[in-house]
Symmetry: C2
Subunit: 476 residues, 2 copies
């Protein structure tokens, strides 16, 4: 079935790509999804990109339980206010009603900091630099595959530190060296980073850092967050340590998470009207070989050559797949692999073999040409890097083309309406102005500069003196 175009109906386009490319589908319990093998293979690459960097920056993985006693959730006041309305609660187990209900974790600060209270005694026990890969549950009223599901998969890092400076540096390290690097270098997402306004902060955080991407419908997507939590959780769960000064102190905390939502971000950043376009470093299949033949003789010859090419590409470290399905014609296969976003297609027919060549087609729109079989693996390695850069470049250009500095509130509201994108404008720092923009345009402050300096000029909303530049956008 043909895809809707992005311009005609972006949500329908997204839904059909997720379905037709066999990435995911809704499951039976409300708001949950099945991540299908092709979608999960992409997620495994996302995990690898993030996990490698989590470990390279000195963190270790561990695992905390799914269930959290309800009373634990209630100890940090802001946190419970933020999450209590969204939790799923287990009231019965083993055939009996539980004495105390259990919350299915919406995030794990509570159980982790209750445990850190036992692990942390002295400054010598610090820092704790831990992460877990887990499923979490937040009841969603308007679920969308990958973007907002009742259950999702993510990693959540939880660190404990001796000083505020060290904890803030940790939150920034994760932002820059883990998330931004993985998103830019592997996922090809030209994310922008900054701080959240107070209204948009994580429940219980002192400061939330964020990475924001711009999707092809000119809406922003929060791709990951890293929180400096101050001593809030240490106070709530009684986590103190004997400091170098011989006194008891509360530990400083960070937490940070990135989730299966990133798969949605990849789809909506790189996709086009023919479907998914996957950056080669993320693609489960980087090169697909489609054999073309008419007779049985041709078939044997072409499939033999395809197998030889697969072996050579595999030896060069390329993730290659030969689509030797008998029941489908080449044109059907071309469409299907385009829909699935495979970066490079090799067409191989008798005429190609006669000329010792293969036809190479790029999914990023770079056209199609005949390449000699000699030296093919090396040239393809180079081509894949080129496609990686070109997809990132496309996305960056698109974002820049949809980043505006409106001169007035009216202009900002008009631009938000059409074409949409990021609006960089001076802000007085007042939550009333932030609320007014949201009420008028549905846009929120996506991020504020990391190291804010006072700006010239007046707040684009109220005209009072501005304190910094905010980036507004409508968002997922």
């Amino acid at each position: 079935m043909a895809l809707p175009t992005q311009s005609a109906d972006f949500p329908a386009w997204y839904q059909e790509v997720v379905k037709q490319a066999e990435l995911a589908e809704p499951s039976l319990a409300r708001g949950t999804m099945v991540i299908r093998p092709y979608g999960f293979a992409i997620w495994e690459k996302v995990q690898r990109a993030i996990d490698d960097r989590i470990k390279a920056t000195g963190h270790q993985n561990l695992y905390f339980p799914l269930f959290i006693p309800y009373r634990l959730l209630e100890k940090e006041a802001e946190h419970v206010e933020g999450f209590a309305p969204e939790v799923a609660v287990v009231t019965h187990a083993g055939g009996e009603e539980l004495e105390e209900p259990l919350v299915v974790r919406p995030t794990s600060e509570t159980v982790i900091w209750a445990t850190y209270a036992r692990w942390i005694q002295s400054y010598r026990d610090l820092p704790l630099l831990y992460n877990q890969w887990a499923n979490v549950v937040r009841w969603e009223l308007r679920p969308r595959l990958f973007l907002r599901t009742t259950e999702f998969l993510w990693q959540e890092g939880h660190t404990a530190h001796e000083t505020e400076d060290e904890a803030v540096a940790e939150a920034r390290l994760i932002l820059d060296r883990v998330y931004r690097e993985a998103m830019v270098d592997v996922l090809g997402l030209p994310v922008l980073v900054g701080r959240k306004s107070a209204a948009e902060r994580f429940a219980g955080a002192v400061e939330t850092f964020t990475l924001e991407g711009l999707m092809r419908d000119r809406k922003a997507l929060q791709a990951g967050t890293s929180h400096y939590l101050g001593q809030n959780f240490a106070r709530a769960y009684g986590v103190t340590f004997l400091g170098r000064d011989g006194k008891e102190h509360h530990a400083y905390a960070t937490s940070w998470g990135a989730s299966t939502r990133l798969v949605g971000g990849v789809i909506m950043t790189h996709g086009d009207d023919r479907g998914l376009r996957l950056p080669p470093r993320l693609a489960p299949i980087q090169v697909v070989v489609v054999p073309i033949y008419r007779s049985d003789d041709e078939r044997g010859r072409v499939l033999g050559a395809a197998a030889a090419i697969r072996e050579r590409l595999d030896g060069a470290g390329i993730r290659v797949h030969v689509d030797d399905r008998e029941e489908q014609r080449p044109g059907f296969k071309f469409n299907e692999w385009e829909l699935k976003g495979v970066p490079v297609r090799l067409e191989l027919g008798p005429r190609d073999l006669d000329a010792d060549q293969a036809t190479v087609a790029r999914r990023d729109g770079g056209g199609k040409e005949a390449w000699p079989l000699a030296g093919l693996p090396e040239r393809l390695v180079t081509l894949l890097e080129e496609v990686q850069r070109s997809l990132f470049g496309d996305a960056e250009r698109f974002r820049d083309d949809h980043t505006f500095r409106p001169g007035s509130y009216t202009e900002m509201a008009e631009l938000l309406d059409d074409p949409g994108g990021f609006m960089l404008a001076p802000w007085c720092g007042g939550p009333e102005c932030e609320a007014r923009v949201k009420a008028d345009t549905r846009a929120t402050i996506r991020f504020l500069p990391l190291d804010p300096e006072p700006v010239e000029g007046s707040c684009i909303v109220c005209g009072s003196p501005a304190t910094e530049t905010a980036a507004w956008a409508q968002a997922y």
Copy 2:
């Protein structure tokens, strides 16, 4: 704190090893555990060993939801009877009571086969060869860390096939090429494989294949199972396909799982009175370097040499850690790394350096000797393989030494009591005899021969003609 000895109190020994080696600890919700970083690093190696082989045998990973609508569980009669008493149930979410309660998955056959009904239309859609890594929940009255916890981590494979033969071959393939290979080659567990008796089968299975290890307390541990499910789930969830004969058929199923329980199996198979002993292929740290010095001068020299050795070992693909903690003395470090089961320790002091050597100590009991620094990485690679073989050999010998062929029921009961182990004895196939052994000795049939042939002689319990040889043992 000193460990209890294995012979004095095996359960206390196990509990203390898990605690002191910082593998895991009980968490707040009943029967749940925190898997600590060192324990989780071992689990990650177990996962890698199994996941690599799952993929190498042609399977793909995907992900199904945590929550299963209660009514789904009820569709396969035997299955619900087996699992309903153990499930945890979510009755409230998003601040409201749910119209239909949700079961937290105890295993995923139900939701997966309800979904396969949509994915399978024709024999061309078969086989489906899928696996997921997930957490599952089964309410446990007597939890034990790793061995039996309310929530545990595992992989569960779920495949669908056109024919019975193909499905049975799949269940056997997983048994041999995935589980046995990973357990024998990486975890160093000399598991025995076989079929379960009807009484010990998975709820809903036609045939359950099992891998059984013998622990150091002479109790057996079920290390993994692979089930041939026949058409039971296809019938319960309406999974039919148009066959090559133009008719509708129900698909044939397998499922198979291995869990964090394997970490417990590693501890209890290889551990000794000084703590854990890890097979090198599984060990997060294969070689620990302990620098020895008295003065600041010596310190600089020894730490410099240790760093150089670390680099060389790292370059040779060895997982190496330099324990440069200032606040602990070498003797303390020796004990700690022995407790944590690191296969090889390198001691490095000024006298070693004067002689261009390091002192190499094996955790498997192979002693301690001085080795020249020249050629050290290559020799250590060889040594690690030797330790891998020696731990496997120890475990295999221990199992063989505790495998008996009792001549009478009285002798079998005595041997089960002391010293314990596997009892191979003829069985008539009657569930009454099986039940009697369990009542008398707490031993169950751990496995039956894979391809049973009638045996000579009479059932060791009732004296009727025996149909096959059963392996009895007390078990976890």
